[in-house]
Assembly symmetry: C2
């Protein structure tokens, strides 16, 4: 006897009754085999495409999203109504020009915008997976994407591009499927998650799991929402996306709608109001268990570990062209981590260029209006397209 | 009719039924007038002294503790049994030599190791203060200390020294009571709390206040303990006390008592176990409301704001000798913030020396075995003592 679940608790508010774009479901004949040894079946990948696939099927660009991103890379988010998260980069006439390229972006497996994740119903029990959802890895995300690309009739991607966790997927794509990636642009990322980054993720997870409304992950059945814990997790993470200099420039010690401090615990400072806003808006659009799973996937990422600890071995003989991009003030994925990848690619005699962009905007710079970023991507992707003979 | 409170909920576990050293209570005739305009009366300062005051009363050194510190600077902590938090710096034959100097250290007002704080009984209600305790500032902490120093018969301190929030108190002492401070050693600190630091503090406070066991600050009456929230706050803060390099060196991606990742949400990584330990041990020795109050005091600290925004004005005509110390890998109170103080002192034509110590240990370096730190402090304090004619 399966308990009924009020549908409103099945997904975060943001993902209810909204158009989540396109979706492809892989049935029992096509299970997703995971690094953990478990299988996920059936499973769905939600995705969006922009532009048109050419007759040669040679102009497909896969965009990989970051921790809290989704498939709405170049069109309005169905809930928030805000522009797609990378409309500055992807669209007609943009650096990744949808008049020329066929752009695909999928919600990662484990996510909460339509791809199968812990908020979905486990067919074995008829209840939401919760923590019974298998722990997934970056490689699992990429495996699922490869199945979608197959189904879309694309054999070889012109380019795989993404920042942060998206960059991890780019690095994994080029390692797992070298013959399917003509060009790769990992941005503001690393081939392994650092101790400090694992530590920040663990703080976020502990904040979520400390929230009694999390209910051991079964909050949907309990009809609760661990919003306070998820908001704290988001606030802590958000600090790491910015830089000290940018915070000082944007907020400094400015007070929020007051002349003097209140001698209380409300948001006296603008930076406090800003963080509260980040926390509150996030819980409306994101699932707490998805946050646990996706942060875990990032923590587990250590590409070299699959190649005897030698990162260069991941790319031995690779013909993929790489453009690696980092930002000077990014302390979450600092230049040194991006350079490690470039050095490994050099050691593997791969085709690699490296660009470090001067900015005070921290890790978030990859999502912001950074002309040098756009110029580098435009030039690199167009050159790759030309070499590959895309019209 | 006042509700009875189970005494075990009046203080954090650590502060119950233990010797909290010496204490001085200031009665109704000596209220503490606070920056908020409120008065605290009666109030108690818990403190420890080491060494003996000389006949000239010229050898007193005031040590100011950091956010989670206490008065047990050079003797075992009565609860944890661990050595005093700065025994490497203070003691017989140590850089601050208790065979030569009379060392005083007080628990700050708002604290939870014996000085009056939010866990204490409000005489007006007979109940614990909770959030009715007045918000205090760094200047309020220093005002209270000055009253204690008066009561101990010390007119002028040979030296005031401290790191982090202790350094803020040092800077405030030299500004508020220039004639009472012969020498000052602010370490790893700043004359204002930065936007990023306020942000991290706010995350910690939100974690505490999100814990339902916090009960709007009235957890003692409710006989609960917001331990989960306080632990999350401590974990987040602890990351900021270290450096990325030190975390990588100490933990890297090493697993905790296992050969492979678990594909679960337990502490797979050593850094996770370490953080959990930091969180769990902290809640036994610290009061959650005190954490709110003391972090708020740090956030409010902006010394220049009291002097028309010009920090140098805080030290105009100062005769105090300053030794400012920072650490290369400290990103919480980076060298640039410490240098701002040095520049202001230079602008005020004060006597100032500045030392930046090369280390990868981050902010916590001021508490660790750093020979260059000890050498700098020993030399500076001894020179000051000699100039002042201390035998």
């Amino acid at each position: 006897m399966v308990e009924a679940v009020d549908p409103q608790f099945l997904r975060p508010l943001a993902a209810q009754n909204v158009d989540r774009g396109r979706a492809m479901t892989f049935g029992a004949d096509k299970p997703l085999t995971l690094d953990s040894g478990r299988q996920l079946s059936p499973f769905t990948l939600a995705y969006m495409t922009y532009g048109a696939l050419n007759a040669d099927r040679s102009n497909a660009v896969l965009v990989c999203h970051a921790l809290t991103g989704d498939q709405f890379v170049a069109s309005a988010h169905p809930v928030t109504g805000k522009p797609g998260w990378w409309e500055t980069m992807v669209g007609p006439g943009k650096p990744i020009d949808t008049d020329r390229f066929f752009v695909i972006c999928t919600n990662v497996i484990g996510g909460c915008m339509g791809s199968t994740g812990p908020a979905d119903i486990d067919p074995a029990t008829g209840k939401p997976y919760g923590l019974d959802f298998p722990v997934v890895t970056i490689r699992d995300m990429v495996r699922a994407q490869a199945m979608l690309i197959d189904a879309l009739g694309v054999d070889k991607l012109l380019c795989v591009i993404g920042g942060s966790m998206g960059g991890m997927q780019v690095l994994q794509w080029a390692a797992s499927y070298p013959e399917r990636v003509f060009a790769a642009v990992p941005i503001a990322t690393a081939a392994r998650h650092s101790a400090q980054n694992i530590a920040f993720h663990e703080v976020g997870r502990q904040a979520i799991m400390a929230d009694p409304d999390w209910n051991s992950g079964n909050y949907q059945l309990a009809e609760t929402r661990p919003g306070k814990g998820l908001a704290v997790a988001r606030m802590a993470a958000h600090i790491t996306y910015l830089s000290e200099a940018a915070l000082q420039r944007k907020f400094g010690r400015s007070l929020q709608n007051r002349e003097a401090v209140s001698f209380g615990f409300g948001p006296d400072f603008q930076i406090e109001s800003y963080l509260h806003h980040q926390g509150m808006t996030f819980v409306d659009r994101f699932d707490a268990n998805s946050y646990l799973y996706i942060t875990r996937a990032m923590d587990y990422f250590d590409l070299a570990a699959d190649y005897g600890g030698v990162l260069a071995e991941a790319y031995r003989g690779a013909k993929t062209r790489f453009c690696i991009i980092s930002f000077t003030s990014d302390w979450l994925f600092p230049t040194v981590e991006n350079k490690r990848v470039a050095h490994a690619l050099n050691a593997a005699a791969a085709n690699v260029s490296f660009v470090e962009i001067e900015t005070d905007r921290g890790h978030d710079a990859f999502l912001l209006d950074e002309p040098e970023l756009f110029a580098a991507v435009r030039g690199f992707v167009n050159a790759a397209a030309t070499v590959r003979g895309v019209a």
